[in-house]
């Protein structure tokens, strides 16, 4: 998404190139922050901090890594470390990952989930699970790219993503039933 020439120019001290580069990536940086933090103001703050860090650290980027995973690593680290909130998240491990939930197929209402319900459900995930989901769906990253961004083993990424989706499915299903209960 960012031209290698632009990155090289920015690394060699071309300040205009660096600013152009930041403009190209700011939306991607913000989008990740927005869905991890589930709050516009926090996302704006975190994204700005990430852009400043990218500005100062551009010299340390090495081409053997993908640039997009390098910047996502920076923004997810900021979101997870600096904006870590002491709010309860569901513990994925405690949940029974057994597939059979013994629910009536007739109960299934296959209507679309509301966007705010999905965001609320994502917000309940543990932070790394949340980051994996955001990179998979908002940045369209592959397993490997997610692993590079979060510095996690590939199997862990898959495990987090699968568990997160299962969890989201359960949460959203509960929301729908909760809606019926009023």
């Amino acid at each position: 998404m960012v031209e290698p020439e632009l990155i090289r120019a920015a690394q060699s001290g071309d300040r205009d190139a660096l600013i152009t580069l930041l403009r190209e990536i700011e939306t991607h940086v913000y989008r990740t922050a927005y869905y991890i933090l589930n709050n516009e103001q926090d996302a704006l703050d975190a994204a700005q901090e990430a852009l400043i860090r990218i500005y100062t650290k551009i010299g340390s980027y090495e081409e053997k890594a993908q640039f997009k995973t390098w910047i996502q690593r920076i923004v997810t680290n900021i979101c997870i470390d600096k904006f870590r909130r002491n709010k309860p998240t569901v513990s994925i491990d405690e949940h029974d990952m057994v597939f059979h939930e013994k629910q009536n197929v007739e109960d299934e209402v296959m209507s679309a989930y509301a966007v705010k319900d999905i965001q609320a459900a994502i917000d309940k995930l543990p932070e790394h699970h949340r980051a994996v989901v955001v990179l998979r769906y908002l940045q369209d990253f592959s397993y490997n790219e997610i692993a590079d961004s979060l510095d996690l083993p590939l199997n862990t990424v898959k495990s987090y993503l699968f568990r997160a989706r299962q969890q989201l499915q359960t949460l959203l299903h509960d929301y729908q039933k909760g809606g019926v209960r009023g």
Binding site: L51, I52, Q169
Partner: protein
């Protein structure tokens, strides 16, 4: 294949990670297992929803918002690049020391004066019963090291030690003094403050970059600092010479060095020395321009002669004497 294993196939299918054969296994299972079929449907729905989450964009340009910070960091970087040059000055090579004297003039002086006033007021107002931590706070506010508070408390002592000072200090000392004055700029006591102030008001030319000849008088104040930090011991060998001029030096408002009989004063500026009649403040004699720093202006006891030294760039020292009776100048014997 049990349902648990199929679950992973479902998950991987959502990420397009299945081979054709794996996909066949998944499909044949869900055809027979309504629970798995329902779950797969829900997961596909979820995945579709996640894919279509709003592609939010920031409500304003983030890069524009951080631009002032980036520019500030840019300036800071440039500042950092110059810092090593300044700190090297403390290595006391005379040439470097001279360079630093070019810019301290007004800016540093005013800082010195302000800090001196603070230190002076503080000493007058609080004396020694103040809590030490508050003192430290006061002095760190004017950017100094820990020794600042201690040195400030010694300020009265420093005035006394002044009699130990000598005008005989060489160019090497001068560079130390310059650094010293800056480092301890916040602890300048009011006495030196007066001198600095009058230097600035009356003799702007003597602060001129390339004419450090103000040292003859400035050296007096500078060496006060030096004497204190060195414990007042370094200059004792030349004490007699310093004592001779000390009395007049301290009482005079202008930085001119007054002869023992009080008739004439001398001022070094712009590589020249002016002899000023104290009766009407007229300049009765000006030496020819010299090619080095004019230092160590010393009156003879009978006020007949003024001896001084020219410290040339290459380190050589030429000694001169001004005969006050004839208002002539000649090279003194070495």
């Amino acid at each position: 294949m049990n349902c648990q294993e199929v679950m992973e196939l479902m998950q991987r299918q959502l990420d397009d990670d299945l081979s054709d054969s794996e996909l066949d296994v998944l499909m044949s299972h869900t055809r027979q297992c309504p629970d798995c079929a329902a779950m797969f449907e829900r997961l596909q729905l979820l995945s579709a929803e996640l894919t279509s989450l709003p592609k939010v964009i920031p409500s304003y340009s983030l890069v524009d918002a951080i631009m002032p910070q980036l520019e500030q960091m840019e300036r800071f970087d440039q500042l950092e690049e110059t810092v090593p040059v300044v700190s090297k000055v403390t290595e006391l090579t005379p040439r470097r020391a001279k360079r630093i004297r070019k810019w301290p003039s007004i800016r540093v002086m005013s800082g010195v004066i302000a800090a001196g006033i603070v230190a002076g007021l503080f000493l007058v107002t609080y004396k020694t019963d103040m809590a030490p931590d508050l003192k430290a706070k006061m002095f760190t506010a004017s950017s100094s090291d820990d020794s600042a508070a201690n040195t400030a408390q010694e300020a009265p002592l420093r005035m006394a030690l002044k009699s130990d000072q000598s005008a005989e200090e060489g160019a090497g000392e001068v560079s130390t003094e310059t650094v010293d004055v800056q480092k301890n700029s916040d602890v300048m006591e009011t006495d030196s403050l007066n001198n600095e102030e009058t230097m600035k008001d009356d003799l702007p030319s003597s602060i001129d970059a390339d004419s450090p000849s103000g040292e003859g008088t400035l050296g007096g104040t500078g060496s006060v600092e030096e004497g204190i930090t060195a414990g007042g011991t370094s200059n004792s060998s030349d004490g007699s010479a310093g004592e001779k001029e000390q009395g007049d030096f301290e009482n005079t408002a202008v930085p001119a060095i007054i002869s023992p009989d009080g008739k004439y004063g001398v001022q070094a500026a712009n590589f020249k020395i002016d002899v000023i009649a104290q009766a009407d403040q007229s300049i009765v004699f000006t030496t020819p321009r010299k090619n080095g720093e004019l230092l160590n202006l010393v009156w003879s006891a009978d006020s007949a002669l003024l001896a001084y030294e020219v410290h040339v760039e290459n380190g050589a020292i030429e000694k001169y004497e001004i005969d006050i009776a004839t208002l002539t100048e000649k090279k003194a014997a070495h």
